[in-house]
């Protein structure tokens, strides 16, 4: 299991959207709203090849940050968190890797995905996808979403970092 604080795990489990920031060319931060999935201490995001610029950025620099900030997208949970970590792309087979790895987690948050998947013929490239597996190294947590107060910072335990 992971080392992220329980309230942050709850946020990740609830969130319908989070803001993934990657490092672009020239060190520019580039942010993409994505649906975050959480399992066994790792955060999983995924991207269609249609919108794959973020994947190219991650290949160049795997350091990323995922912010969970919107209470509307977290079933009213006002807490906020930013998970900073290192991303690894799973893209050997963009056609089916993601189905095996994250479809169950995805449909729990977005049940409509099964209907879309049945109509895969209508938008085939949308379902050619890479999985972004984020291993957290640092976590910032704001209880009640109060960013006017300093965050509680947690870092990956030395045992896990090793």
């Amino acid at each position: 299991m992971g080392w992220l604080p329980a309230p942050v795990e709850q946020l990740l489990d609830a969130a319908l959207v989070g803001e993934l920031t990657v490092v672009g060319r020239n060190g520019r931060p580039i942010t993409h709203p994505l649906i975050p999935l959480y399992h066994s201490g790792r955060v999983y995001l995924h991207s269609s090849t249609l919108f794959s610029k973020k994947l190219e950025h991650i290949k160049r620099d795997p350091r990323v940050a995922l912010a969970i900030t919107d209470p509307v997208a977290t079933k009213g949970n006002p807490d906020r968190a930013t998970i900073i970590g290192t991303a690894h792309l799973i893209e050997d087979d963009p056609h089916s890797d993601w189905e095996r790895l994250i479809l169950d987690l995805w449909r729990r948050k977005e049940p409509a995905i099964d209907d879309f998947l049945k109509a895969r013929v209508a938008l085939p490239l949308f379902f050619e996808r890479a999985v972004i597996e984020v291993t957290p190294v640092r976590c910032l947590y704001w209880a009640g979403g109060r960013t006017d107060q300093p965050p509680v910072e947690t870092r990956v335990p030395a045992t896990e970092a090793a």
Partner: protein, 457 residues
């Protein structure tokens, strides 16, 4: 205010404007991001307020996390509307890049975003197809093997050939067989071969059309394909190579020609041979150089001839071995209605078609003229039925097809409302496809009634 600013810069970054800042300020909170000294990005939610100075806003300073002034930061607003049991909708986001001074004043330089109310998801996806191709090409190079998008073989075959459009072939072929039967000539297995051969010819034309629309760039240039328009896009998506499409089209043409030759041999009709040659020539000339009829505004005429007289008379001649005025007159009805399917389906494609030099009628004509031409064409089909019955060429039970007249007006009014909206126009295109099926079905019923009445007499 620039066009890109009004559309949130969807798809491409642009110089930030006061409009972008106003839009950003409308989000209940924003996420500020920068790259820390350790090379990891960091993000924090905060609020912002406009300070009256166009070109900058003031961010509430997050506690314990000073926003650096020595590097670029991004400020992102994001919105969704959760739909319990479904997922979410109303997606939009806007990201601005710039610098922060005085610890909180943010001056934006660049902007980028997407709002699905301004650019529907399907259009956004289509505009992103080149990115998918670039990514998969780079991935293939990186992995040392070809990685292409895939589809289940059944769905790929259905998409590649545009199989559901075969209804356009079924109507004239079945009508030709029915007229032949009403004239006392019917052989079930040649009728079946005619349906199969006509279907192969139609699928071959569909695939050929995709080959040339891919090569000309017309499909690439069209960001608004629908289930009725914009081609199969299998080559655009790299699901099938152009070479694969050429081989498939050749195979389908060969199958159609082989069946046609069997029917010519069985019937001994040289007339049937010429009809078949005319059909294949029209199919190729539709998009293939040098004629490229659809590129010259003659696609409707080619389709009217191919799916009217060629298909219907071909089926009739297979059964009877001769020509007659009745099937000639009747063939004008599906000819007109199927050409109207093409005519309406070209409406959402007109932007991409114009860009690729494909001067279809909706590219050449104003919306008002297109709508009027549709109404005139649709009513002409029914006038032919009525005139055919009055003139004694068509049996009176075929008048039942006039019951479908309201569908013409439904499409006409739909064109008035949805002309510029490809996705809401889909329902109108569907009604227009149904118009041909309903009229064809009612005409068939008219002929069945005629045949039964003759048997009973």
């Amino acid at each position: 205010m620039t066009a890109t600013a009004t559309r949130s810069g969807t798809g491409s970054a642009h110089a930030a404007t006061a409009v972008d800042l106003e839009r950003l300020a409308a989000y209940p909170h924003v996420v500020v991001s920068w790259v820390g000294d350790d090379g990891y990005p960091v993000s924090v939610a905060t609020s912002l307020e406009t300070d009256g100075d166009a070109g900058s806003v003031r961010l509430a300073a997050p506690a314990g996390m000073p926003i650096p002034a020595d590097r670029e930061v991004s400020v992102t607003g994001s919105h969704i509307h959760p739909q319990p049991g479904f997922g979410y909708d109303e997606r939009r986001y806007l990201q601005l890049w710039g610098r922060v001074t005085d610890g909180s004043r943010f001056t934006a330089a660049r902007a980028w975003g997407w709002d699905e109310t301004e650019m529907p998801f399907f259009e956004y996806s289509e505009r992103s197809v080149p990115q998918s191709r670039r990514y998969l090409a780079a991935l293939s190079k990186e992995k040392g093997r070809t990685i292409r998008p895939r589809l289940d073989p059944f769905w790929l075959a259905l998409r590649t050939t545009r199989l559901p459009f075969l209804s356009a072939t079924a109507v004239p072929v079945l009508l030709g067989i029915a007229v032949g039967a009403s004239h006392g000539a019917f052989t079930w297995w040649t009728a079946l071969l005619t349906v199969i051969g006509g279907s192969f010819a139609h699928l071959a034309i569909n695939v050929t059309n995709d080959v040339f629309d891919t090569l000309s760039g017309a499909d690439d240039a069209n960001p608004n394909p629908t289930q009725f328009s914009g081609g199969s896009r299998v080559a655009v998506y790299d699901l099938v190579s152009v070479r694969g499409l050429v081989l498939l089209a050749a195979g389908l043409y060969a199958a159609a020609a082989a069946i046609g030759l069997v029917l010519v041999a069985v019937t001994g009709s040289i007339l049937l041979l010429w009809i078949g040659v005319a059909g294949i020539a029209l199919g190729l000339a539709y998009t293939a150089p040098p004629l490229k009829l659809v590129y010259r505004g003659l696609g409707e005429l080619a389709v009217a001839l191919g799916f009217g007289p060629v298909m219907l008379l071909g089926a009739y001649v297979v059964q009877t071995g001769r020509l007659a005025w009745e099937p000639v007159v009747l063939s004008l009805v599906p000819g007109i209605l199927i050409s109207l399917i093409l005519f309406v389906n070209e409406i959402p494609d007109r932007g991409g078609d114009a860009q690729a030099g494909k001067r279809t009628l909706p590219v050449r004509l104003s919306p008002n003229v297109v709508r009027t031409a549709y109404l005139v064409g649709g009513m002409a089909a029914f006038a032919i039925i009525a005139a055919g019955v009055i003139g004694g060429l068509l049996p009176w039970p075929t008048l039942i097809a006039l019951a479908a007249v309201p569908l013409v007006f439904r499409v006409y009014h739909g064109l008035k409302v949805h002309y510029d909206s490809p996705y809401t126009l889909m329902a109108v295109m569907g009604t227009n496809v149904n118009l041909n099926l309903v009229v064809g079905g009612l005409l068939l019923i008219g002929y069945v009634v005629t045949i039964v009445a003759m048997q009973l007499a």
